[in-house]
Symmetry: C2
Subunit: 549 residues, 2 copies
């Protein structure tokens, strides 16, 4: 987590280079206007035609976050472009071609999370999205439109939506495009197959008939139709009444060598062991109890601040520290303070701001689920693994809890564990954990007192409860063993074991689609010297090994 060569995920409106946000009453307009020379690596590629790289997407994620917290009156958003006759050309191909495998995979994961964040806002924040596609809308550009509730396309004889990845680049539209086309928009599979091999895409009435967009309008009527429709979408919003929003200030962690310190989160890397100690602290100051308190506390409320910090730490770890394969999770401090926060969140969950805080915690926990790192939670005396923080232990691949002879060591559940934070499979972490013994869920939730180590083990809430004599050795051995395994096998293993039970569009995007895209992203047919992704825009044609697998 050193700053060298590292990507940071924080930005703010005064630093935006690629997006313009305007807000009028209940409607926001989010317009893409990518600065060609302001990508992450300007020397390597130019962001032409509203193509994007991670820098553009970090801004988009930030805008969405500010719409949630700073603009509570916004009920609908128009996503469009300020460039004439260009909506968005998708992820920048020269960026992809010049990026390593791990970066490509993490770039796609982040963009997927951001687009799913749009659908999360529609479902859980009551903010509806209308893509106003005013021109070329290709690949990742169309995938952005697909994440919106509805897509309006201008009918000017040239504007088209397309997924040209396969014909032009030999890869997939991997930011949810294939999944959303057949599962969200329910395009017929033969039509979707044809469309996904058509570099020029479809436009006009055919795009509507085939379900790729909802409406088309001639240029003269487009703006008006979009304005009318977004007002209708805003009227469908269930966003609660609000006063002014709160301001999301900078997190400003201090970084000292391999240690990153936020207010409530601390990450410390041990490069020799390839581990990161990630510790989250319970609140140690009075926390909001009423909705008015939450508004007053703003971004300083622990529930928001601590999970913003955790989110940031996880993102930095993913992108900047690929060799750090194991995260040792600890929660420290007063568990009663966490349980009090849970009670306050639940009591005020219909208030606009509290709802957004809960939404944010849920998304951050999903980010943990989807992080290709091993998480081991260590539950030791002084721990604060209670309620919302215990979700982190449930998100971990394993939780170890010391059974201490002399010191008290307990963990606790709260009503928050009963349904506040469903995973991407639609189940709570307790439901996923206890697929085979659903009775254990109610039994655990009805257990009003904290669990000691033996009780937690018997309730199936932790993996192992060594006594304090064995603790250090058992934990050390488990970590040493883990860090010695093939990092690829662990990534596949965790991706398969973490999401038992039903699949959803979200899990399909991260399971099926992403796994295939990762496979293709390694194949010489894409990334070899004459691979399609490498020769694009240069002279000559790709050269393929024709063997199908």
């Amino acid at each position: 987590m050193t700053a060298s060569l590292s990507v940071t995920f924080e930005t703010s409106p005064e630093h935006y280079k690629h997006w313009k946000l305007t807000v009028e009453d209940h409607v926001a307009t989010l317009a893409m206007d990518v600065r060609e020379d302001a990508g992450l690596r300007p020397a390597d590629y130019k962001l032409k035609l509203n193509s994007y790289d991670l820098a553009v997407d970090i801004e988009l994620a930030d805008v969405l976050q500010r719409l949630r917290f700073e603009h509570p009156a916004v009920h609908a958003v128009v996503v469009t472009s300020l460039k004439p006759r260009i909506f968005c050309a998708g992820a920048n191909i020269f960026m992809l071609g010049s990026s390593g495998h791990g970066f490509k995979v993490n770039f796609c994961k982040f963009t997927n999370e951001t687009r799913l964040g749009i659908e999360d806002m529609s479902a859980n924040s009551g903010v509806k999205f209308l893509a106003a596609v005013n021109g070329i809308c290709a690949g990742g550009g169309y995938e952005l439109a697909l994440a919106c509730d509805e897509i309006y396309l201008v009918d000017d004889g040239s504007a088209a939506v397309s997924l040209p990845e396969t014909p032009l680049l030999g890869v997939l539209p991997g930011t949810g495009g294939l999944t959303r086309v057949v599962d969200k928009r329910k395009v017929r599979r033969d039509v979707a197959d044809h469309f996904s091999t058509l570099s020029e895409g479809v436009r006009g009435k055919r795009a509507v008939d085939w379900r790729f967009v909802d409406r088309v309008y001639p240029t003269s009527q487009f703006k008006q139709a979009v304005e009318k429709r977004v007002q209708e979408l805003a009227a469908q919003s269930d966003r609660p009444a609000s006063g002014p929003g709160i301001t999301l200030g900078p997190l400003s962690p201090s970084i000292d060598g391999d240690v990153i310190q936020y207010t409530y989160v601390r990450g410390a890397i041990d490069r020799g062991k390839r581990t990161c100690d990630l510790t989250i602290s319970a609140p140690d100051t009075p926390q909001p109890a009423t909705a008015a308190d939450f508004v007053k506390a703003g971004d300083q409320a622990w529930a928001l601040c601590a999970f913003r910090e955790l989110d940031d730490a996880i993102l930095r770890l993913r992108l900047n520290e690929p060799e750090i394969g194991t995260v040792i999770l600890r929660a420290v401090g007063d568990p009663a303070a966490v349980l009090a926060v849970d009670a306050a969140l639940l009591a005020n969950k219909d208030h606009w701001l509290v709802r957004e805080i809960i939404n944010h915690i849920r998304r951050t926990l999903k980010r943990v689920d989807l992080t290709a790192r091993t998480f081991f939670a260590l539950i030791e005396p002084g721990n604060a693994f209670a309620g919302t923080l215990f979700e982190l232990a449930l998100a971990a691949d394993r939780a170890y809890m010391v059974d201490h002879a002399d010191e008290a060591n307990t963990m606790a559940l709260s009503a928050a564990n009963g349904g506040l934070y469903p995973m991407s499979n639609g189940l709570t972490r307790l439901q996923t954990r206890f697929l085979g013994e659903p009775d254990s869920i109610d039994r655990a939730l009805e257990h009003a007192d904290p669990f000691d180590a033996q009780e937690a083990l018997e309730a199936g809430l932790v993996f192992s409860s060594p006594d304090d004599m064995d603790w250090d050795d058992e934990v050390r051995l488990a970590v040493e063993e883990r860090t010695a395994f093939s990092p690829d096998a662990l990534t596949g293993l965790e991706a398969n074991l973490r999401f038992a039970g039903p699949e959803t569009m979200e899990t399909k995007i991260f399971g099926r689609l992403t796994a295939w895209q990762n496979w293709i992203f390694q194949r010489p047919n894409a990334v070899g010297e004459r691979g399609a992704l490498m020769v694009y825009g240069r002279e000559g044609r790709p050269s393929f090994d024709w063997r199908r697998t």
Copy 2:
């Protein structure tokens, strides 16, 4: 489809080298006794410790098929081993290490289909499976046991079940193991995580407590417990009463250069175009109408014979012809004859043999869905795309139907399309196709007359209906375009577009698990010079690139 270097998938009991089948009343015992020197490439590896390669699995698939058709009185099967203290050591590692990527992927696909075939027999043929694990049961060996309804393990102090792929080989237990552990046996994810990193596995009471096996018995009681339980399972069977079974004779296709000719199926490869013309003929002789007729016709009934041939042709294509990326599907002959077969299948669907024929057609169609080749169906005058054969057009990525000015050209549905052949997502092909417009399903099924090209297009049953003047060009261009795309991107594209709608354990195995395994199977950490799969059993330790993605 030349014979050179090619794998054939036909075998029969008199040729078995690796499995012993004994049948006593309603119970069969299927015992693994792998001949070390009788693998596919005996010079490259020995099949020690009941490890298996494709040859062993081809036999297993054959035994299962014969249990379905030749042994209709069998209601339950014990799967065990004849080797003392060894059940099965899993897929042979030296075989994997010395196989190319495409072979590994296709080997895993076939073994997955065979294991899913066991679950299919339990669900749809009423044949229950009990794994009697009498010793070491590792990796693919445990995955075979997991496919059974129940697992009994001997408790002799050493017999254990394990999934040691990750710790020993740096790959996944990719034959459904990870999925079945959490989704079928509903093992808790932290326990599954621990287990999947434990090279020695678990045994005894712990194996039961953790849900990895159903029962353990000391050696002295094991045989008796298995015998008792399998009788109970047999009593749960819903297999209809039957007389003697039918005999599955050899298919005996004639192979002439790049043409393979069966009775009803013909495959002709064009190596220049990298295509295969695959044609299935409607029956041209009287077909069974009653259950007794079906028994009398045996393996010569068109419904069984034609789909056995199709299955064989698809398997040969997958393994032996990797460069042939596009299959042009045709059905020719009298559609009325196909519809008459459908009527006979439906009228007798509760008869044991007819049920098995329907099951076999369903599995063969699934094999098409899961084949990493593009399928284009061409519907031309003289076609027999009706009912069951129209399922092939629905399984295809696209169907083209000529709108002929002079010649009649129609296709037809039957009640068989309404539910006889669900896909692995649990939906019929019509349901998957019309996710976005479910009314179209009933409308199409109620359309009693055959559809002409315009009607089929309007009903959404075909992708395109060019007139006869444009037909040759349109089809030629579509095929030429298709065969020019990256074969990897097409594999990923098709795997994502073919399975819209719900996911099941089966689709999770082929989507999520297989895609991750394919990814890992290409990574230097597994298959590089110092990859874990390559150095296994040799001197030295694997060398990993520690970057997680």
